[in-house]
Symmetry: C2
Subunit: 661 residues, 2 copies
């Protein structure tokens, strides 16, 4: 015999957004920022529907509710603003609004001169039922209104006045009949991060190259002394490659040499020696006390330390002996080293995520995070997360965030797009990107379009260089290319970073022609940098970072509009936030002066195309008055090959720069 389903509610709720993979993964947002939620809500027939957005912090018993509004084509919208870090949930509830349907019908019938005697009685019954739901004072109000509707002793006009009164409408909205309401078929999650998850400016340095006394191994104390250099440029995250003891067995020498000399410091990512593993500190850098001093001094200057988490071991790591089951063994009894055939990396042993002891391994790895969280660290740059199992990341990130929702994890996965996106879905806060290899205007526009589409779960971080990536463009493009690439990174993405001082000192010599490795890379040896060099790009970087700091439009993503320019060596785009528009023009040609007519989308930059407006170059402090949507730009590689304009529309009619806001 056919069984009737328990839920026969007439209202449909579908196509909720934002959601990732149908709700399988959480979307990302930041605290204090509204989350705009939409859904299709409708029912059969011609009845009016009503809907609320319900939301709460996960774990809270109480849902908050806010009324949704129709935006056309059966789509409804509302937003909520999470005011605390952590995981939030939302769902939608909709119901057929019999009162609204009735009121609409009454209105039409009255207009058509149709007798509404019976209709008023139907309405009175609806209002009476609401009065029972309401109780107390609102209940009494509704009861009185129901009586008015039903009272045949009253004049019709008085009864209709009651029916169409704002008081009745409001009261009925407050006490709707939701007994046959429909809920979303699943709850959706929003991971709510702190502001820095969305807006951060990273500086990566190898402390060992920062000795105040040249020729020595740099230490945390040396970095502490020179924090002003980094902070004054306007960075807010100071990222250190692994600070742990470095393996001795099969240690690499300069320029990835197979044999290390006695003074070679080794690769920081070859983690572990008899001095300890992932929770120990390389004695050459100092002590845990020195590290804490650095951390606190950085914090005072607005710099947050980010540590590198590289889950792999040198042959000397304590885990090799303590937990051989966490590594894969070879038939000859040796431990399986890392390889990407035909390449071998004998100085690195990967952890085996198919170990017979996943519980032990996973807990130990979480323990590494816990240790450094205990040392006050809240930002981690995770090395090669794509070579560890996705279920591990999904688990460990959820666990960490449950206890410390202020933790930020940057995924360093330069691999196939779907693998990178999955890492973002399972919880990484930020993600390295292909930005370094997107050079032409077409490539940049296409890539930004793709990233914008994925904005709900991936927060891109744009790096023009890293210790592993010295692009052909930087090798050959000279100073103008370094400038252009930093302006692009810092204005296309709200999260960006550089590996310095190699970047601002324009280190551009590759290991070999065609390679993207640096010659004399700090990965293998200590370098000495002339931070006071007159050629340094530090002043420009400082200006760009100040623009980022001052302009909210540059602190958000998915707010980008490209504007056509009639020269494809010139890229033009704007970013917009509430009360703020920044317009950027960059020349992609490091060799020649380039000019273009740009056709501005007036709506995107918030100006009246028929009036003058001011563009204020934040890099040079020069101001220009532009008019209409078509304007001329010229960029000289001999100067700064970019404009970063604050756009100010005219607010008074007087001819004065002050009149632009």
């Amino acid at each position: 015999m056919a069984r009737i389903p328990a839920t026969t509610s007439r209202v449909v709720i579908e196509s909720e957004s934002p959601r990732i993979d149908g709700g399988r993964f959480a979307v990302k947002s930041i605290v204090g920022e509204p989350v705009a939620v939409e859904a299709d809500v409708f029912c059969d027939g011609h009845d009016a529907v009503a809907a609320v957005l319900r939301y709460r912090k996960t774990g809270s018993r109480r849902w908050s509710e806010t009324r949704m509004a129709p935006i056309g084509n059966d789509r409804w919208m509302a937003d909520f603003t999470p005011e605390e870090l952590g995981v939030w949930q939302f769902e939608i509830e909709g119901w057929a609004d019999r009162f609204a349907t009735w009121l609409d019908g009454l209105d039409k019938k009255v207009a058509a001169g149709i007798d509404v005697t019976v209709d008023l009685l139907i309405g009175a019954a609806l209002v009476s039922a609401a009065s029972i739901r309401a109780r107390g004072k609102p209940g009494r109000t509704l009861r009185k209104l129901a009586t008015t509707l039903a009272d045949t002793n009253l004049e019709l006009t008085d009864r209709l006045e009651g029916a169409f009164s704002a008081e009745l409408r409001t009261s009925m909205e407050d006490y709707p009949d939701r007994s046959a309401a429909t809920r979303s078929e699943r709850r959706y999650e929003v991971v709510v991060d702190r502001e820095r998850a969305e807006f951060s400016t990273w500086y990566e340095l190898f402390p060992r190259s920062w000795a105040v006394d040249p020729g020595k191994h740099g230490t945390f104390a040396d970095v502490t002394k020179q924090l002003g250099y980094v902070a004054d440029m306007g960075f807010d995250v100071l990222y250190l490659p692994p600070i742990h003891p470095i393996g001795v067995t099969d240690r690499k020498g300069a320029n990835n040499g197979l044999r290390a000399g006695p003074d070679d410091p080794g690769v920081p990512w070859a983690i572990g020696s008899d001095k300890g593993g992932h929770t120990a500190i390389n004695p050459d850098l100092g002590t845990i006390e020195d590290f804490r001093v650095l951390r606190d001094a950085a914090s005072e200057r607005g710099l947050e330390i980010a540590l590198d988490v590289a889950f792999q071991c040198s042959p000397d790591h304590p885990w090799i002996k303590e937990h051989p089951e966490w590594f894969r063994s070879r038939p000859d009894g040796s431990v399986q080293y890392a390889e990407n055939p035909p390449k071998k990396y004998q100085d690195t042993y990967p952890l085996d995520f198919e170990t017979s002891d996943p519980r032990g391994l996973w807990l130990a790895l979480k323990g590494v995070f816990d240790h450094w969280i205990g040392e006050g660290i809240r930002i981690f740059r995770v090395d090669n997360p794509h070579t560890k199992g996705f279920p591990f990341w999904e688990w460990v990130i959820a666990e960490i965030r449950r206890e410390h929702p202020d933790v930020i994890l940057l995924a360093e996965a330069f691999t196939r797009p779907k693998v990178m996106y999955r890492l973002a879905k399972v919880g990484f806060t930020q993600s390295y990107t292909y930005f370094a290899w997107r050079n032409t205007r077409h490539e940049l526009v296409e890539y930004m379009t793709e990233l914008d589409r994925l904005h709900d779960f991936i927060r891109p971080s744009f790096w023009p260089n890293t210790p592993d990536i010295l692009t052909q463009q930087l090798q050959t493009g000279g100073r103008p290319m370094f400038m252009a690439r930093y302006v692009l990174a810092a204005t296309l993405s709200s999260n960006c970073g550089i590996y310095g001082p190699a970047f601002e000192l324009m280190d551009h010599i590759p290991l070999t022609p065609g390679s993207e490795e640096y010659r004399d890379s700090e990965k293998y040896q200590i370098r000495t940098w002339d931070l006071d060099s007159a050629n340094s790009l530090a002043p420009l970087i400082t200006q760009v970072n100040k623009a980022r700091h001052d302009h909210r439009a540059l602190q958000r993503n998915a707010n980008l509009t490209f504007h056509p320019a009639d020269n494809d060596k010139i890229i033009c785009y704007s970013k917009r936030a509430v009360g703020d528009v920044v317009l950027v023009v960059v020349s992609l040609d490091p060799d020649h002066v380039q000019s273009a007519w740009v056709d501005l989308d007036a709506n995107a930059i918030g100006v009246d195309p028929n009036h003058q407006f001011q563009v204020h170059d934040l890099l040079t402090d020069r101001r220009y008055v532009w008019e209409g949507s078509r304007n001329f730009v010229q960029l000289d590689p001999g100067g700064i090959p970019a404009h970063v304009f604050a756009v100010r529309r005219r607010v008074r009619s007087e001819e004065s720069f002050d009149s632009f806001l």
Copy 2:
């Protein structure tokens, strides 16, 4: 303490397609047609993965499996062909393929001249493990191969030969290690219909107007006598408006008059009288025996009867008294009639899907389907399904199809798009569309693009007219417009239909100017049609239907390509199926001769743009030799304002029409 999840499989399966709303609803297909399934399958690291598509008829215990193949960017594909009607399921299983990873590494190491002694032992262990999974003869083969790999007494070349042998690769593919495989996070469903769900040509007629003796009330017997007229035009579905007793109370007169005269037959959709309700037959049409005779005679001529299911009641329907709880009552004790304020339909009582007895109501409605299924009917046109609850449809269609998977239901919902799409999602086999109101080329292209996007769950049916829809175009466009609209309907959509003889006899007089209602509509009165009229479009319709019958390209959807024409009064498109291409050119201007250069997408029509090809007009039987992608067309409203070309590419070099296939 942190709990480790039970499933820690490394392989990810996501973005499976086809799926509707993340798998919430079934996709639609037809029996014997391959279902192409895709998914992203990948794992962390650099390991090779393998995947199978698993499928079965729902209820079957045994899954079939077919190996998926990579198609780039971590996407995998396979297809399966359901050979039975009903609901099928599919899911995907993927695993890290350690053997393939090993073999690939071995290949690269050998090429680089690296010692592979230990690698061969690793491979031998993998093969040995497979031999245990395999058992029997394949197990012995694998054991022998494992021994070869491991045997240090053999020459290295012999061992490598074994490693790279096709025998080993095939055997390992047959016995993979799937112990840590991942399955799709949910199972996906495919509703498998019969061919007619995808390809059908409907003819709607009011039997009461088909009296062989003019002036009488037509009967089933009259229709039986004239079946040849319909069948000879090439239709395969004969759809009858409701055949049940018509209410007397508040019966409508001619042209929707409020008072019916004594001879007015009433509206067939005002169902129910003292003669019975939805399972009874209007005695004026004949008996159930007459109906069975008609059904069988139609069947012999290749015509399948479709009945109208209109779940609403006249005031005289037996259910009003038997089940007052299925209707909404008004405060004055009357039953709530249908209304769409300020319009009232006092001759029709809607069923109340918020009844206190949903079980009783739902079962009774299902009983209506069951009754007519019992009478051999398998196609139903459902009137206004959008005014009944979606949960009811989802339930009743699943129930019907579980017992009778050959049932086809056409949803007659002319309402908001999301409501129409939801009805298709919850199970309607076919859907009426907005085709009648899509007139300009831009409108048609846009609409077809939208429908193609929804192809996995909505099967559009294109009707140029219905008893409710006499468009402005047909009212004013005359014969050329009638011709153009039928060619468009019949070649844009694999499912189409007309309301005749009004259509082929070009009835085009509206009730009032601006109305889409017919004057003297058959909905309210009996009409007399001159089926032998010399002006009839029957010959053209016959030709078009023959083209549909002969050309598989016209029997499928989502196979459409539009081709640019430099005159927007001319629309050009092609449809393609295996071994068949049809190219259609239609003039949208009923008043003037129109010509255009059309730029054919050679790839879409499967011809070599540098060689001649033949286009054979299936409406006129004329053949043209075209060359290249740019060709000239001219269409005269005085003739047939359309070409329906079979495209034949040259297969021999001789100059002969026979050389085009």
